[in-house]
């Protein structure tokens, strides 16, 4: 840690480090990748990684770590890259993060570690995400996961949901010697990492490898279990002998705009659109049985400005869409998507219709979507979120011809667990009440975190909640105090 005054392995003086340019991430050319599902970013080579690592200023008080939801010791792992100890770097990250190959790819680094990097005051910030991804992939290629040998505590924890927060809890607790079983409603492990985030941003093989590693460590997984329906939280605690339960059931029900015509054929929620593609492999129909509408030569739009919206529209482009629009009611500055995704999407030729909102969907006489009737917006006074409120411009109505529209405007709480668990407190919007510090719910022995507590957020914030929960679950199991 920063308290030990170690001699730096970095041969460069700080002023020399600033002169090293940020190493570019090698990527598939935009015109090529727009037609395939292969990963966009190709990853640093060892040389690029070591060159980039040299830029770290090794701050006495590293703000990068302070701004990481799981508190990765960035300075230390980057130093290990400098000296070529890539496995050591991976091990350092793993102390705080059980899914480094995932977060290295999908974290919004610009808002977190890299956003507070001292270098960014003068030049571009250190490529922390790229470096994290490099060491995680290196470790995977070497196949040298160390499976720790931990004495069992005899305690049993049930984790509900196998998305990023559930996996974090499972990974942390198994390393403390507790028995952990993860229940998943779908037929595949990984939650949003497998049904939501597309292959070109997060290859499913990467997710599978991380999960295989957890299996090696002893985590058990059971698919096809909808907790609340197949088994209740109370049954897990009272009949199946679990000492604690963690609820990480994720985002929940897709929201619609409640404008006329949302039920027309061709209007999808982003969850459905992405699930058909990522989980069900509908784009490989008829090799896979799940169908989806053929997008070749069609005009497709997504409504929304988050990562999910961009994942959906970039998928549509790869599936042959002729025109691929993002319709967003605010401006560039307010877009919640990761900067890199917006940049990549523009390179690929996505047409951004900013300050625009659909007010109605139009169809033919058989109920198939033909267009979105939109209005242009302008930004007015700031609203409750602090962002300037979009206000429709009078007389700006126009029809955008479309065959498929994908609605990606967020989600609301899934009620299944809450409605079947007596005494589990929820907030006004139906999300589970949990302490921000300990992730404890209002029920003894029951913890919750991730999107089912906060509403739609990011992979890394869900993992942060998972870390805090694991710490407090361990404390609860050790002391019995509530």
């Amino acid at each position: 840690m920063s308290t030990t005054a170690k001699k730096s392995a970095n041969p460069l003086l700080p002023k020399e480090r600033i002169k090293v340019p940020r190493q570019l991430m090698p990527e598939q050319p935009a015109e090529v990748r727009a037609h395939n599902f292969e990963e966009v970013n190709l990853g640093y080579s060892a040389e690029l990684a070591q060159q980039e690592a040299l830029r770290c200023l090794e701050c006495a008080k590293p703000t990068c770590t302070d701004n990481c939801p799981v508190g990765i010791d960035v300075k230390e792992f980057v130093q290990r890259i400098v000296i070529g100890d890539f496995l050591g770097a991976a091990a350092k990250i793993r102390e705080a993060n059980v899914l480094p190959a995932v977060t290295g790819r999908v974290c919004p680094q610009e808002d977190q570690c890299e956003g507070k990097c001292l270098l960014s005051k003068k030049v571009k910030p250190l490529g922390i995400g790229y470096l994290e991804r490099f060491v995680a992939d290196y470790e995977q290629r070497m196949g040298t996961h160390v499976v720790p040998n931990i004495p069992p505590t005899g305690k049993k924890v049930a984790v509900v949901g196998s998305g990023p927060s559930g996996l974090t809890v499972a990974g942390d607790l198994i390393q403390k010697g507790h028995k952990v079983r993860v229940f998943e409603a779908l037929h595949e492990i990984g939650g949003v990492l497998v049904y939501g985030i597309p292959e070109f941003r997060l290859p499913k093989q990467i997710v599978r490898e991380q999960i295989d590693y957890m299996r090696e460590m002893g985590v058990e997984f059971e698919t096809d279990v909808v907790v609340g329906r197949t088994v209740t939280i109370d049954e897990l605690l009272e009949e199946e002998g679990y000492d604690a339960v963690y609820i990480g059931t994720g985002a929940g029900l897709p929201q619609f705009m409640n404008v006329p015509g949302e039920h027309f054929n061709g209007v999808y929620s982003a969850n459905e659109f992405l699930t058909r593609i990522n989980l069900m492999k509908a784009y490989k129909f008829p090799v896979y049985d799940e169908p989806m509408l053929d997008l070749h030569g069609k005009d497709v739009a997504v409504i929304g400005g988050g990562n999910t919206a961009l994942d959906a529209i970039r998928s549509a482009l790869r599936l042959g869409a002729r025109k691929a629009y993002v319709i967003y009611r605010r401006s560039d500055a307010e877009m919640p998507a990761r900067a890199e995704e917006v940049h990549h999407a523009r390179q690929e030729g996505i047409d951004f219709q900013m300050l625009t909102a659909p007010v109605e969907f139009l169809s033919d006489d058989k109920g198939w979507l033909t267009a979105a009737r939109c209005v242009r917006m302008e930004l007015g006074e700031p609203d409750a979120s602090g962002r300037r409120r979009p206000v429709p411009k009078e007389g700006s109505e126009f029809d955008l011809p479309l065959s498929v529209a994908v609605i990606a405007i967020g989600t609301s709480a899934n009620p299944i667990v809450q409605s079947t668990t007596p005494g589990l407190g929820t907030n006004k919007r139906g999300y589970i009440q949990a302490s921000e510090e300990t992730q404890r719910t209002t029920r003894k022995g029951v913890f919750a975190g991730g999107d089912i507590v906060t509403g739609s957020a990011t992979v890394i914030l869900a993992m942060g909640a998972g870390r805090r929960a694991a710490t407090s679950i361990h404390e609860y199991l050790t002391t019995g105090d509530w």
Binding site: H187, V226, T230, G252, M280, K281, D289, M292, L293
Partner: protein, 298 residues
């Protein structure tokens, strides 16, 4: 993997499977369903639960061959396995003592109506059941329905068994005879449920139908199963599958269920061809005629 411990045809193209699924068996209530996936490349489809046995840890599902997946399913035998079965999904039927309840089952929908009829009977209701089918061979669960009903009426479209006509004819008769009806529960093809709703709407009889739209996850995540209820979008998997029949927009349901008709027909055609090639004998080709969805078949 979920093992099939017994499989038998109830009628041509309609098969009942007893499946080892202890968790689901323990929790299943009338009105609920499962989603299953047969093999790795398979689609997820919702299927009716007809019954369950918590002690043995088994559930019974009833499947009518309609498209590729249901045909493939019906080719499975005792000892085979299904890759994924998840459930029980959806809200259970609301069981109470309403007084006199008419339970209408159309085609394979009778399998879903049966556990509800049984539960209503146990709750003290007078249960009058109407079962309709295209012809004699397709009448299913007659003894089971008879056992839980105070009266059972059967209609066939072609008159090859019992009374010729539609279930709505029997319902109309009951109403015209002055039978006091407190609730109607109807499960079957969309056209049948819509017809029942039209009959009872005029009479102001509370009517519940069980909807079977296109679904993927069945837990509320995808929103594909949204149906229009009283002008608002609701999700059949978490808000249903049972809804007030007089508030359902059946036209939207029919329209949305047609979304993948081309793909379904293509899947079915390829499947049928593969079957023919494999067997070299047309007699073995499946009995189903189109790629219609399970929901529209029942």
């Amino acid at each position: 993997m979920f093992k099939i411990i017994h499989a038998e045809f109830l009628a041509p193209g309609i098969k009942r499977f007893v499946i080892e699924a202890p968790r689901i068996a323990r929790k299943q209530k009338p009105g609920q369903f499962v989603i299953l996936r047969i093999y790795e490349e398979g689609e997820r489809i919702p299927i009716t639960i007809e019954n369950s046995n918590p002690e043995r840890g088994t559930i019974n599902i009833v499947v009518q061959a309609a498209g590729k997946t249901t045909n493939l399913l019906n080719s499975l035998e005792t000892g085979d396995s299904i890759l994924d079965v998840v459930g029980p999904l959806g809200k259970p039927s609301e069981i109470a003592n309403y007084g006199t309840v008419v339970v209408v089952g159309g085609g394979v929908g009778t399998a879903m109506a049966y556990p509800t009829a049984a539960a209503l009977k146990r709750a003290g209701n007078r249960v009058l059941s109407i079962v309709g089918a295209r012809n004699k061979e397709l009448v299913i669960l007659e003894p089971e329905m008879r056992a839980v009903s105070d009266a059972l009426m059967i209609t066939t479209d072609d008159g090859s068994y019992a009374d010729k006509g539609f279930v709505t004819d029997k319902l109309r008769q009951l109403i015209d005879n002055g039978t006091r009806i407190d609730l109607v529960v109807a499960v079957g093809p969309i056209v049948m449920m819509k017809a029942v709703a039209e009959v009872t709407r005029k009479e102001n009889i509370h009517t519940v139908v069980s909807l079977n739209p296109i679904m993927i996850d069945g837990t509320g995540m995808c929103g594909g199963c949204r149906v229009m209820i009283d002008g608002k979008s609701e999700f059949a998997c978490v808000d249903g599958p049972e809804f007030d029949a007089h508030k359902v927009d059946f036209a939207v349901l029919v329209q949305r269920n047609s979304m993948y008709r081309d793909a379904e027909q293509r899947s079915m055609a390829e499947f049928t061809n593969a079957q023919k090639t494999a067997s070299g004998d047309e007699a073995h080709a499946c009995t189903a005629t189109s790629g219609a969805r399970q929901g529209e078949q029942r």
